[in-house]
């Protein structure tokens, strides 16, 4: 149950509260470049979500099985060349970034083959944008976030398992799709407006993106509130002033707060 709540909170945080585009600034290039029509934006969003989930699966698996110190595959192979003690501690995390970018490139290749076979019309409308997903910061960013929760954590208990990794990646992609579809809807309307010439295309998109980011800031704190409400209560409560019997906090008719000490 706690695991399920944790996954839901990761999903909510990745999709809305810490939205990949509007909070972490990853995936800006397609956000500004591809968001002219809603169908195009929706297709791009789904493609990115698909790729990000596969890439996250690949990077989590390779990180936990091969790269971190004490990983099964690397210890096994190193066991042939080195004494057991050194083989168990072999640390390949320096190769993380190279491994991630190549797993992203492979995921994009795989998705490209899949789309070309089963959705040929969509494939043609994508044109050059599908291979360009490789350079989408959002996918590498998801892999890096997963890496920061797996490599170098203080407690082995806190290291993320596959479920959390895929939840973050998939819902991060969904968040990207939400942002890009909203932007494309706005831009479709914007075509009927008289935008000053220096601001056409990119500049006005960024300004609107800023206003969208302000709107999404309203979601801050939702996950911490839900977490406190839903998680099992710790034995010691958070420090609410209502708990202390010595002081009583009231709010009077004008909305002013005051304190009264009850002896």
């Amino acid at each position: 149950m706690i695991y399920f709540i944790d996954i839901m909170l990761i999903a909510l945080s990745a999709a809305l509260i810490n939205n990949f585009v509007l909070y972490y600034f990853v995936g800006i290039c397609p956000f500004v470049g591809v968001s002219r029509k809603v169908e195009m934006a929706l297709g791009m969003g789904f493609a990115v979500t698909f790729v990000i989930s596969i890439a996250a699966f690949l990077s989590w698996s390779i990180t936990t099985m091969v790269l971190i110190p004490g990983a099964p595959v690397s210890s096994f192979i190193a066991g042939f060349f080195l004494p057991a003690e050194a083989a168990a501690n072999i640390d390949l995390t320096i190769l993380c970034y190279i491994v991630y970018i190549f797993s992203i490139a492979s995921s994009v290749q795989f998705v490209e083959m899949y789309v070309r076979k089963f959705f040929p019309i969509l494939y043609r409308s994508f044109g050059v944008f599908l291979p360009l997903i490789t350079t989408n910061c959002a996918i590498l960013f998801a892999c890096l976030t997963i890496m920061s929760h797996v490599v170098g954590v203080d407690n082995p208990e806190d290291a993320w398992d596959l479920g959390r990794a895929i939840a973050l990646a998939f819902f991060g992609g969904i968040g990207f799709t939400i942002a890009i579809v909203i932007m494309s809807g706005i831009r479709e309307e914007l075509e009927l407006c008289d935008v000053p010439e220096p601001f056409r295309d990119a500049a006005i998109t960024l300004v609107i993106g800023g206003i969208l980011a302000i709107a999404f800031m309203g979601f801050t704190g939702v996950d911490s509130g839900i977490r406190k409400a839903v998680m099992p209560k710790p034995e010691i409560q958070a420090a609410d002033s209502q708990l202390n019997a010595d002081a009583f906090v009231y709010v009077d008719m004008k909305g002013q707060e005051g304190r009264v000490r009850i002896p």
Partner: protein
């Protein structure tokens, strides 16, 4: 086949006429993310300069051995290696800054700017020209990042490089150091640069 630009032309083009952020719109992710202070912005600009220079030199040295199908793989491998080196050096010698910049240093790998320069210049021209191109583009990138960071830091905290420049009574525009401020600042500055470009083009058209 048209003549490729010389080294000096590459260098000068990179600073303003083909500025990576304001003209080519490449590398927007770090531009928005690290510009909430001058120090992170300059650290990021130096890291990008390092990776760009090294990658351009290496690619230019092996440009005659590149096969068309595998060249993207070679570019990616080179860039990823140099980014790893830059990241480890920052973590070792500028630990606090490395923590502030966080995941945005590894994101240099997918910065379209570097792959674009490798493709357009380094794979076709000599080491000297490629280096000049890298320096020019890096300088342009640094200028762009500094301009945005200056606006955000001064308006958002009243400080520049950590030194107070606005009076204490200035109410900090906190929105400037938060994500929306990045979008708004870049959008408005981009509009300004476009407008200046339009005036210049109109004046050149009038003179002709």
């Amino acid at each position: 086949m048209a003549d490729l630009p010389t080294a000096t032309e590459r260098f000068i083009q990179g600073i303003l006429p083909e500025n990576p952020v304001y003209r080519q719109m490449l590398g927007l992710c770090p531009t928005l993310a690290v510009t909430n202070g001058m120090k992170p912005a300059l650290t990021m600009a130096c890291s990008v300069a390092f990776v760009l220079l090294c990658a351009n030199i290496v690619i230019s040295l092996i440009r005659n051995l590149l096969k068309p199908h595998l060249r993207i793989v070679v570019f990616t491998l080179t860039i990823a290696t140099f980014v790893t080196i830059a990241d480890r050096f920052l973590a070792a010698y500028l630990f606090q800054m490395s923590k502030t910049l966080g995941p945005y240093i590894p994101l240099i790998i997918v910065n379209c700017l570097i792959i674009c320069r490798c493709e357009v210049c380094a794979s076709k021209q000599s080491v000297f020209t490629a280096s000049a191109d890298a320096m020019g583009q890096a300088l342009g990138f640094g200028l762009a990042l500094s301009s945005i960071a200056a606006v955000r830091e001064i308006l958002g905290t009243g400080m520049f490089f950590g030194i107070r420049v606005l009076p204490e009574a200035w109410p900090d525009w906190v929105i400037m150091v938060l994500p929306p401020g990045a979008f708004l600042t870049l959008g408005l500055l981009l509009g300004l640069v476009n407008w200046l470009g339009m005036i210049k083009a109109r004046r050149a058209g009038n003179d002709a």
